[in-house]
């Protein structure tokens, strides 16, 4: 199915892997080098890469992808509760259940296209969220979230170990994955690299070409006697599996899952990540995910106190007005910063951060014909 990737792609993969594995060093100066946040970077990176396989390649905008992430998380936690604290079976179960669910949802939703498809996926996700919060509480533990308890059966573990006094941690053959520490991060990081590689192969494969063809003109594809539905469904399911994998990893690094993980705003978040980073590019979605998670976790924790610390070198008469202006955008105003950044990026850089980087690159390498180094988001005609 796959040809050998070109040399450029190997370079990209190597560079990407190096950056991801060195995150603890690279992120130190901006205060993000702690395992929990780096895990989130990787997990949402996987989620966004998967979303991009559907949206970036086929142009189908799903507004319900968070549902697959939620299903994956619930499946993983149930695996911890029922069978074993080992991360592998949980992740396999997460991917499996997300895939099965994606087959059903995809089969129904892909009967429509355009905004009708978006609303169908949104409707499914909202139904999942609403039911998980209330009626399905025996399965999801509702508002409180599904979590491990001391009297879970854990059948497989029970065969091999004496149960310890407290709650067991998620492990990978003895390595503690949950409860902080770098092992969880490296599990996520390496999974992200594998996912990136698979996505790259999909982008370069005939299958990927087929999906792009569907995006540019599905009718023409149909006129040639080509049945597009199976290809779309395959893309949808693959992207659902990515989401399930992300959900499984989320549960593995932190075995508690609440229903709000499936709310439409969570689905909206992955759309924002993908577009912010650059739709249809390989690296873009990961970048977008990192930027949004960084805002959510770091910007929200600044306050006037911290600002005064940073700007302390200025004379007071300049410092105070600057601080009071900046404090609008940090702390409880981090949402405002996010909104402004979205608007600026969409207005001036429709291709997301990746386009910005490419423009900077082109600025330094003024050579014509250098523009197709990266596949760029194509503008669809607005009918």
């Amino acid at each position: 199915m796959f040809n050998n990737p070109a040399r450029n792609d190997w370079m990209l993969l190597a560079g990407f892997s190096a950056v991801i594995l060195c995150l603890p060093i690279l992120l130190e100066p901006i205060g993000a080098a702690y395992p929990a946040l780096m895990q989130k970077f990787c997990i949402f990176g996987i989620f966004a890469i998967g979303f991009n396989i559907l949206f970036g390649l086929t142009g189908y905008l799903s507004f319900g992808h968070a549902a697959f992430l939620g299903v994956g998380s619930y499946a993983a936690v149930w695996s911890f509760k029922l069978f074993t604290m080992n991360a592998i079976p949980a992740i396999v179960m997460a991917v499996f259940f997300a895939a099965a669910f994606a087959v059903v949802v995809g089969y129904v939703c892909l009967r429509r296209s355009g905004i009708y498809f978006s609303i169908l996926t949104l409707a499914f996700a909202q139904m999942c969220y609403n039911l998980a919060y209330s009626v399905l509480t025996p399965l999801t533990n509702g508002e409180t979230g599904l979590q491990l308890t001391l009297n879970d059966p854990r059948v497989v573990d029970g065969l091999f170990f004496e149960p310890s006094a407290g709650l067991p941690r998620v492990d990978l053959f003895g390595l503690p994955i949950s409860g902080g520490g770098y092992a969880g991060f490296y599990l996520c990081a390496i999974t992200l690299i594998v996912c990136f590689y698979i996505a790259m192969r999909i982008f370069r494969s005939p299958f990927g070409m087929m999906l792009r063809a569907i995006k540019s003109n599905q009718n023409r594809m149909r006129y040639t006697g080509f049945n597009t539905r199976p290809y779309l469904l395959a893309a949808f399911v693959i992207s659902g599996m990515y989401a399930g994998l992300a959900g499984g990893l989320m549960a593995a690094t932190d075995p508690l899952v609440g229903a709000e993980r499936m709310q439409w705003t969570a689905s909206g978040e992955v759309v924002l990540m993908t577009i912010l980073g650059g739709v249809g590019t390989l690296v873009g979605p990961v970048l977008g995910a990192a930027v949004i998670k960084y805002f959510e976790n770091i910007f929200s924790s600044f306050d006037d106190h911290a600002l005064h610390g940073v700007l302390g070198f200025l004379p007071n008469s300049i410092e105070n007005p600057i601080v009071s202006f900046l404090s609008l955008f940090v702390g409880d105003g981090w949402n405002l910063t996010l909104g402004v950044v979205f608007m600026l990026i969409v207005i001036f850089l429709p291709g997301g951060i990746m386009e910005g980087l490419r423009r900077i690159w082109n600025l330094f390498n003024r050579r014509p014909g250098n523009r197709d180094a990266m596949p760029v988001a194509q503008t669809q005609p607005a009918e």
Binding site: G166, G181, V194
Partner: protein, 448 residues
Amino acid sequence: MKFEPMNRRLFLKTSAIAGVGLAAPMHFIRNAYADDMSCNVPTGDTVTFGWNVPLTGAYADEGKDELKAFQLAVKHLNGEGDGGLISVLKPTALKGNGILGKKVAYVHGDSQTKSDAARDGAKRMIERDGAIMISGGSSSGVAVAVQGLCQELGVIFMAGLTHSNDTTGKDKKRYGFRHFFNAYQSGVALAPVIGEAYGKDRRAYHLTADYTWGWTQEESIKNATEALGWQTVAAVRTPLGAADFSQYITPVLNSGADVLILNHYGKDMVNSLTQSVQFGLRDKQVNGKNFEIVVPLFSELMAQGAGDAVKGIYGTSNWDWKLEDDATKAFTKSFGAEYSTPPSQAAHTCYVQALLYADACERAGTFYAPEVIKALEGFEFDGMGNGKTLYRAEDHQCMKSCLVVQGKEDPKDKFDLMQVVKVVPREETTYDAAMFGGELGPSDPKQC
């Protein structure tokens, strides 16, 4: 595609090896400390607390108030300001020079009233900023989620505003402590008062937020009112965040019920109460009696949101700034001097929690978590505004008095919306700790 599982397994193995390689040095460094180290025990001259409060979303105003209270507590602990409740707390080991000679610093995060965001924030404060204690809250879902995380990481969690029975019941944890009261205590406190006001022969209709907090409250209130001789006509579940409750209120009109009990909180409560009043329920006569509405859990901010609709409505409250005891007066004065508004009950419980934790460290003589837990368990104190209070060892729930309040008919200003009808003494609100099940788990320290 079919190679994917094999690849993953291979990569996971690699990851395991890489992980060992990279995690090992960390492990050795951590273990190099003495044996009596628990997570984030301070080594420098400051000790860091983590405030995890909602700054965005529906409870943002409540979160801001909590954050103010925390900042005030830190000030007082470090011996700045007027000292607040430090001088009133009895017994106290606090000296107003920090804790165990270390200055108190704090970090904060936005919990967004979502368990995922709250856990992310708590992890940042623990892993990056070295917070030794996490506090804050606005909903029980978030409190239970963060409490679970703190148990796992071995960091003490002093819950802020969380009212569900589960927090110190089914989901109680050794590392989690709650000062706020719960739904069961609301029911026990409220029932006699509304029984006296509305009579023993009433037919109640419940509208309940369809999630665990709503269910536990519905059950508690139902049991308490049925013990009075009331009948329950129906208990209807409403979706969370339904902006318009009219379709749930219309059936009440013809149900033959003469009391409506709204088991809602936050915006749901503001909307359902406002709309119920608009439907003329309070002007109605049913079964020859005036129709009444009861809101078991009140908060000042919600009362402000509901405006005139709260007038005359009965509910319960953990604490109110209009109480007459010295501790309440001292706290109201010092909070008012700092921020020119009276404190809310959320602010009060958060402030008290911060002080109690600091006091426990002083009494234990160490920050070592298992010792601090021991110092808090079974601690009996007075002078925090709720009379003599016991931090019960069995479930880490505070046993103390709570209030029955009523919306004021003629408020002087927007801080004067409720009047205290009755202070329900601790003896009446105390219940059997084993009632809600759950297990605290071990207090073994974690190396984080």
